[in-house]
């Protein structure tokens, strides 16, 4: 049976999830979650991306990230 999900929260944010497997490695983006607050985003990130043995995991609201440039955009001189 096909199921359609509907957002139950009125105000949700996208949180980008960053992690690394070993201390010498840099943090890298491994995915994102959608949640109304950082607490729930942390619980979702841990539940969704816990398949690897990460030594560190962080979440950042996507809106807090400033894009300098992106694919398809001209690099600022």
């Amino acid at each position: 049976m096909q199921r359609e999900y509907q957002r139950v929260h009125q105000h949700v944010k996208v949180y980008e999830v960053f992690a690394r497997k070993a201390r010498p490695e840099p943090l890298r983006q491994i995915g994102s979650v959608v949640a109304p607050d950082a607490d729930l985003a942390a619980a979702y990130a841990r539940a969704t991306y816990d398949e690897e043995r990460w030594v560190e995991m962080k979440i950042v609201p996507k809106e807090a990230i400033t894009t300098l440039w992106a694919p398809g955009e001209e690099v600022a001189e």
């Binding site: 957002r7 139950v8 929260h9 979650v33 729930l40 619980a43 979702y44 539940a47």
Partner: protein, 240 residues
């Protein structure tokens, strides 16, 4: 009641909590909540296994032989007897009961029994995410009925002020007694338990509940491995 019986109560409650969480892994209000329900279910079933593994080092195994045939021999709370009918039931259990079990685990870790200090510590890290999940959904608001029932059962599960949990606290096996345990849950959830006086006369000190009843037949069958046998090819046997 011995510390072993209390650990068995924790193990049975966590096993049933894990199974009830898992039942919502395709019914929660969002895909993220589905995944969280599945992950928390796996956590709690795993915690139950670890807790059962502590029984032998603690002394006599308190599991009665009738657990194979009598669903009422399990030490779970009434809240976990039947599948939950609403998301509000999930949230109330996640926020109140799971946090109450975690408060007891913390009291074990901070107590004077080495086996519990060492084996249960990791659970506290995993439970942090159960707590964040439960508290955040609780803040969204749920119907008052499941929340009140969850609080009442948590208070009853901690036991009377002069009961065995209080004695285990006095002996140092637990780092907190019933009043302190309740206070810790209230503090974490930033809310007060509803005021009520449990009927300790009707309370079963072994099952830590006052309401009679037992796990539903299907879940009990699953615990005994009967459900999975339905999917075995005919003629196959366990261990074959």
């Amino acid at each position: 009641m011995s510390i072993g019986e209390l650990v068995l109560s924790l193990a049975d409650n966590k096993q049933l909590l894990g199974l009830r969480y898992a039942e919502w892994a395709t019914r929660a209000p969002s895909l993220e909540a589905d995944i969280a329900a599945a992950a928390m279910g796996l956590d709690d079933i795993g915690h139950s296994r670890v807790l059962l593994g502590c029984l032998e080092p603690l002394g006599e195994d308190p599991r009665a032989a009738d657990r194979e045939n009598d669903a009422g021999a399990y030490l779970n709370l009434p809240y976990l007897d039947q599948p939950w009918t609403t998301w509000g039931h999930f949230v109330a259990a996640n926020a109140v009961l799971d946090t109450a079990f975690t408060a007891m685990i913390q009291a074990c870790v901070e107590g004077n029994l080495e086996v519990l200090q060492s084996r249960l510590r990791k659970m506290l890290m995993e439970e942090r995410y159960h707590f964040l999940h439960g508290r955040s959904w609780l803040r969204e608001g749920i119907a008052p009925e499941p929340l009140e029932v969850a609080w009442r059962e948590a208070v009853e599960w901690f036991g009377p002020p002069d009961g065995e949990v209080a004695r285990l606290h006095q002996e140092g096996q637990l780092a907190a007694g019933p009043a302190e345990l309740l206070h810790r849950v209230e503090e974490r959830l930033e809310m007060k338990a509803p005021s009520f006086e449990p009927d300790w006369g009707a309370w079963d000190p072994r099952r830590r509940r006052s309401r009679p009843g037992a796990i539903d037949a299907r879940t009990f069958g699953m615990l005994r491995g009967l459900e999975e046998r339905k999917f075995m090819p005919s003629g196959a046997s366990r261990g074959a």
